[in-house]
C-alpha cells in the first residue's frame, strides 16, 4: 500500500521532466515493436524448419542423372527402377523429384474451361511406386492400381489420370467433403480424377496454408527411357547415405552412358532449403540482443542522471524519515510506470509494424502472446537497468539535504 501511495508524487515529479520521459517511453515502445516482431519472425522460421513435408524424409534420398552424348543406353526406365529396387537396403524406388528439391506450383481448375484457377498446387508427377516410395498415407479412397495407371508411352491427351490429392486441398476444393471421384484440371495436361486422399504432402515449407496443396500423378513407365531424378526409400534410415551411394553406383553400372549428377538425402535437401532463412534468423537474434543491451543502457543512463539531479531532494526525504527502502522503491516504481507507458504505446507500434511487414513480406499476423512476453521482458529489463542507479539513490545520506551542492 505504501508503494501505491507513492504513485501520485512520482507522476507529479515526472511531469517536470516531460521531454525525457517521453523519449524514454518512445524508446521502450519502439523496442517493444521491433522486439515483438523479431521474436515472432525468428520463432516462426525455427518452427517452419521442423514442419514435415509429409513424406518419410529420414528414409528418402534422390539421384539425378544426365546422359553423355553419343552413348545410347540399353536400359529402359522400368529397368532402371528394377535396378534401384534390387540394391540391398532399398525398400522402393520411383521416378519423381521429392518436395523441397524441385517443387513447382501450378494453377488448378475445377471447370474444364480452365478460366478461373481455384488454387495454386504442387504437382508431383512420377512413375509407378511413387506413393510407396514417398511413404504417403492414404486416408480416404485408395491408391490407383497398376492396371489403372496411364501408360506413359501410349497415353493420349484425353485420357483421365487417376490422382491423389492432399486432405487440405480436397477440403479447399470441395468443402462439402465429397472430393472422391471428382474431376480436376491443371494448366495444360490431362483431366484428373481424384481417387484417393493423402494426409499431408508439402511441396515447400513457406508457412502458407497452400504449402499442403498437392496433386500426385503416377504414370506407368515401360520401355522408354527417362532422364532426370529418381527417388528411393530405404528400409533403415541410418543406412540411407550408404544405400544411396550404392544405388548411385548400381544406376551408373546399368547406364554406362550416364554420369551421376547429384545424390541428395532429404536431410541434406532440408538443410539447404532452410539455410538462408536460418542464417537470417541468427542475424536477427544478434540484432535482438544488441537491441536489448542498448535499451538497458539508455534506461540506466537516464535513471542515473535523474538520481544525480535529485540528490538534494533524496537527502531531504531521508532527513524527513524516509527509509532507504522507500527511496529504492520510489525509483523502481518510477521505472515501472515509464516502462508501462512504453509497453502500452509499444503494443500499438508492434501491431503497426506487423501490419507493414505483413503487407510487404507475407508475414503472418502477430499473435497477442508475443506482446505479453515482450512486455514482461521489458518490465524485467527496466527493473534490472534501474537497480544500480536506484541503489545509489538509496545510499544518499540524509546529511546531503543540509549541504549546499
Amino acid at each position: 500500500m505504501r508503494i501505491l501511495h507513492q504513485i501520485r508524487p512520482i507522476l507529479a515529479a515526472l511531469r517536470s521532466h516531460k521531454t525525457a520521459v517521453m523519449l524514454l517511453v518512445l524508446e521502450i515502445a519502439l523496442t517493444m515493436a521491433v522486439l515483438g516482431n523479431l521474436v515472432f519472425i525468428v520463432y516462426d522460421t525455427i518452427n517452419r524448419s521442423h514442419v514435415s513435408t509429409g513424406i518419410a524424409e529420414s528414409q528418402i534420398g534422390w539421384l539425378q542423372n544426365i546422359g553423355v552424348v553419343g552413348q545410347d543406353n540399353p536400359v529402359t526406365g522400368a529397368e532402371n527402377l528394377a535396378v534401384l529396387r534390387a540394391v540391398p537396403g532399398v525398400a522402393d524406388a520411383a521416378y519423381v523429384s521429392p518436395p523441397l528439391v524441385y517443387a513447382q506450383r501450378n494453377p488448378l481448375f475445377i471447370d474444364p474451361s480452365r478460366k478461373q484457377p481455384v488454387a495454386q498446387v504442387y504437382e508431383f508427377q512420377g512413375s509407378q511406386g511413387l506413393v510407396d516410395t514417398f511413404g504417403l498415407h492414404v486416408i480416404q479412397g485408395r491408391e490407383p492400381t497398376l492396371d489403372e495407371l496411364p501408360v506413359a508411352a501410349t497415353v493420349t491427351s484425353d485420357a483421365v489420370f487417376p490422382v491423389l490429392v492432399t486432405q487440405a486441398l480436397a477440403a479447399h476444393l470441395f468443402p462439402d467433403g465429397h472430393a472422391l471421384g471428382k474431376l480436376i484440371y491443371d494448366g495444360g495436361g490431362n483431366p484428373m480424377r481424384i481417387v484417393g486422399i493423402v494426409d499431408h504432402l508439402r511441396g515447400e515449407i513457406t508457412g502458407r496454408v497452400d504449402d499442403d496443396y498437392a496433386v500426385v500423378t503416377q504414370l506407368l513407365l515401360g520401355a522408354q527411357n527417362v532422364g532426370g531424378g529418381f527417388t528411393i526409400r530405404v528400409h533403415e534410415a541410418t543406412q540411407l547415405p550408404q544405400v544411396l551411394q550404392a544405388a548411385a553406383i548400381a544406376l551408373q553400372k546399368a547406364n554406362p552412358g550416364h554420369v551421376q549428377n547429384a545424390a541428395l538425402t532429404m536431410a541434406e535437401a532440408r538443410e539447404s532449403y532452410f539455410r538462408n532463412a536460418l542464417a537470417a534468423g541468427r542475424m536477427l537474434v544478434a540484432i535482438m540482443l544488441i537491441l536489448l543491451v542498448v535499451t538497458a543502457l539508455g534506461v540506466s543512463g537516464l535513471a542515473s542522471f535523474w538520481v544525480q539531479q535529485r540528490r538534494r531532494q533524496i537527502g531531504m526525504r531521508r532527513a524527513l524519515g524516509a527509509t532507504r527502502r522507500d527511496i529504492l522503491h520510489y525509483f523502481q516504481m518510477e521505472n515501472l510506470l515509464i516502462v508501462s507507458g512504453g509497453v502500452l504505446l509499444g503494443t500499438l507500434f508492434a501491431y503497426a509494424l506487423n501490419l507493414f511487414l505483413m503487407h510487404r513480406f507475407e508475414l503472418a499476423h502477430l499473435p497477442a502472446h508475443y506482446l505479453v512476453v515482450g512486455a514482461l521482458a521489458l518490465w524485467a529489463l527496466g527493473q534490472l537497468a534501474v537497480l544500480g542507479p536506484a541503489l545509489r539513490a538509496a545510499n544518499v545520506p540524509p546529511v546531503v539535504a543540509t549541504r549546499s551542492v
Binding site: T19, L30, G187, I287, L291, G301, F305, Q309, F361
Partner: protein, 429 residues
C-alpha cells in the same frame, strides 16, 4: 569559433566519461548494425555491370496459344526456339544472343568431368564485356555453321591443362570433340543477371559453346522449360515450349525505343498469323529493371534492413535522451555563458558540435562493428555470403549516417539547452 566549441565539447565529454561512452556505444551499435545490413543490401541489389546495364535488355514475350493464355499472368521470362530464331534472323539490335544453361560431361585427358555450360551466340562475349585470357570468342560464322568450338573458363583451363594456353586443344564430349578457341579471364557476374533461373550467385559456367552446336549435338540443357502441349522433343525447332533466354544490346535510348516498337510489331504479326487471338505481350527490360522484376534481393535481407533501420531509430532516441541529460545538467555553466553574452545561437551551435563529436566517435566504432558484422555475415552458409564486402561508398555512407544521425539526435537537446534562462540557472546554483 568552431575550434573553441570543439575544445569545449571535448572538455565536457571528458568530464563524464561513463555517459560519453554510453552515447558513443549507443550510436556505434546502431550504425554498426544498420551498416551491416545496408552493405548486404547494397551488394545484393548492386549493378553487376554498371558500364552497360542501361544498354542491355532482356527480351520477354507471351505467345501462349489461347487455351494456355490467362489474362493477368506475368510475361514469361523465356522464349520459344521459333521466336528466338526469328529475332536472331532479323538482328535488329546492335548485338543479340539467345542462351540456355546446360550441363555435360567432358574429357580432355584422364577422368571425365561434369561441367556447367552455357549455350549461346558469338555476341554473348562482347555484349557482356567478357574478358579473354587466351584466344578469342567464336564468330557469328561459327554460330551459323554449328562449328564444334568451345570457350572454357580459366578455372577449367587450370583443372584440365594446368593453366597453359589451351587454344587449339580439344574437349571430348562423348563421341564428339570440340576445339577450344578461347579461354576466359576472371569473369564472375554476381548476381548472375543474364540467367537468374540457375542459381543467382556463384561462379560463371565452365564451358561456353554455340547454341546451334549444342542443339545439333542434342546436349542436355537445364533451367525452366514450359510446354503447353505434349511434345517428344522440347528442344525441336517448332516445339511448343518456352525455354530460351534472349538478350539484346541497344546502345542508345532511341534505339531501345525503336527496338521495343519492333517487338510490338513482331507480336502483332504473330497474332495476325493466327498463333493466338489475344493481344500477346513483348517487352525489353534493362538490367536493373530485370533484376528488380526477378526480386534478386532475398526477402530476408530486405526485412533485416527495415528492422535494422528501426533499430538505428531506437539508438537515436537513446542518444537524444542521454544528450538531453548531459546538456541540462550543465544548466549552470550555460547560464554563466549566457550571462556573459553568449547568444542562444552560440549555445545551440556549441551543443551541436558536442553532438557531432559524439557522432563521429560513434561512426568510427560503428565502422569497426560493421566490419565485424560483415565477417559474421560472410561466415553464414548463404549463397551470397562470399560476395559481401564493404566498398568506399559504403565507408563514406557510414560516416555521413553517423554524423547526420548524431546531429539529428542533438537538435532537441541543443534547442532545450539554449532555452535555459540565465537568471534562473545562476540563482539555482
Amino acid at each position: 569559433m568552431f575550434g573553441y566549441y570543439l575544445d569545449l565539447a571535448l572538455r565536457s565529454l571528458k568530464r563524464n566519461k561513463a555517459l560519453t561512452a554510453l552515447m558513443v556505444l549507443a550510436i556505434a551499435l546502431g550504425i554498426g548494425t544498420s551498416m551491416t545490413t545496408l552493405t548486404v543490401m547494397h551488394v545484393l541489389s548492386g549493378d553487376p555491370i554498371p558500364q552497360k546495364s542501361a544498354q542491355l535488355f532482356r527480351v520477354r514475350m507471351n505467345v501462349f496459344p489461347d487455351d494456355s493464355f490467362r489474362p493477368g499472368d506475368k510475361v514469361p521470362d523465356n522464349l520459344t526456339r521459333r521466336d528466338v530464331e526469328a529475332l536472331l534472323r532479323d538482328a535488329r539490335a546492335d548485338r543479340q544472343a539467345a542462351m540456355s544453361a546446360g550441363a555435360m560431361v567432358v574429357a580432355a585427358q584422364g577422368e571425365p568431368l561434369r561441367v556447367a555450360t552455357r549455350y549461346t551466340g558469338a555476341d554473348f562475349f562482347p555484349m557482356f564485356d567478357v574478358p579473354m585470357r587466351y584466344g578469342r570468342a567464336w564468330s557469328r560464322a561459327d554460330d551459323a555453321s554449328r562449328a564444334r568450338v568451345a570457350v572454357i573458363s580459366s578455372v577449367l583451363n587450370e583443372q584440365l591443362f594446368g593453366g597453359v594456353d589451351s587454344v587449339g586443344k580439344t574437349l571430348q564430349v562423348g563421341e564428339q570433340s570440340l576445339r577450344i578457341v578461347g579461354v576466359l579471364g576472371d569473369w564472375n557476374m554476381n548476381p548472375r543477371f543474364y540467367d537468374l533461373s540457375n542459381g543467382q550467385f556463384g561462379d560463371s559456367e565452365q564451358v561456353f559453346l554455340p547454341l546451334s552446336t549444342a542443339l545439333d549435338l542434342k546436349l542436355s540443357s537445364s533451367g525452366s522449360t514450359n510446354c503447353w502441349s505434349r511434345t517428344n522433343d522440347a528442344r525441336a525447332a517448332d516445339a511448343p515450349c518456352i525455354w530460351l533466354q534472349y538478350w539484346a544490346e541497344l546502345d542508345t535510348p532511341a534505339k531501345a525505343a525503336t527496338y521495343r516498337q519492333y517487338l510490338q510489331n513482331y507480336i502483332a504479326l504473330q497474332q495476325q498469323a493466327g498463333r493466338f487471338s489475344h493481344a500477346g505481350q513483348a517487352e525489353a527490360l534493362d538490367v536493373m529493371q530485370w533484376l528488380d522484376a526477378k526480386g534478386v534481393v532475398p526477402a530476408d535481407v530486405r526485412l533485416q534492413t527495415w528492422l535494422a533501420l528501426g533499430f538505428l531509430g531506437i539508438c537515436l532516441l537513446n542518444t537524444v535522451g542521454l544528450l538531453l541529460a548531459k546538456f541540462l545538467r550543465r544548466s549552470g555553466e550555460i547560464g554563466v555563458r549566457r550571462a556573459l553574452g553568449a547568444s542562444r545561437r552560440a549555445i545551440f551551435l556549441q551543443c551541436l558540435v558536442e553532438a557531432g563529436v559524439v557522432g563521429l566517435a560513434g561512426g568510427v566504432l560503428g565502422l569497426a562493428l560493421a566490419a565485424l558484422g560483415l565477417v559474421l555475415v560472410r561466415h553464414q552458409p548463404t549463397d551470397y555470403a562470399a560476395y559481401i564486402h564493404m566498398d568506399l561508398r559504403m565507408l563514406l555512407a557510414t560516416f555521413v549516417l553517423a554524423l547526420a544521425s548524431s546531429l539529428l539526435a542533438g537538435l532537441l537537446p541543443a534547442w532545450r539547452a539554449m532555452q535555459v534562462a540565465p537568471a534562473v540557472a545562476l540563482k539555482s546554483n
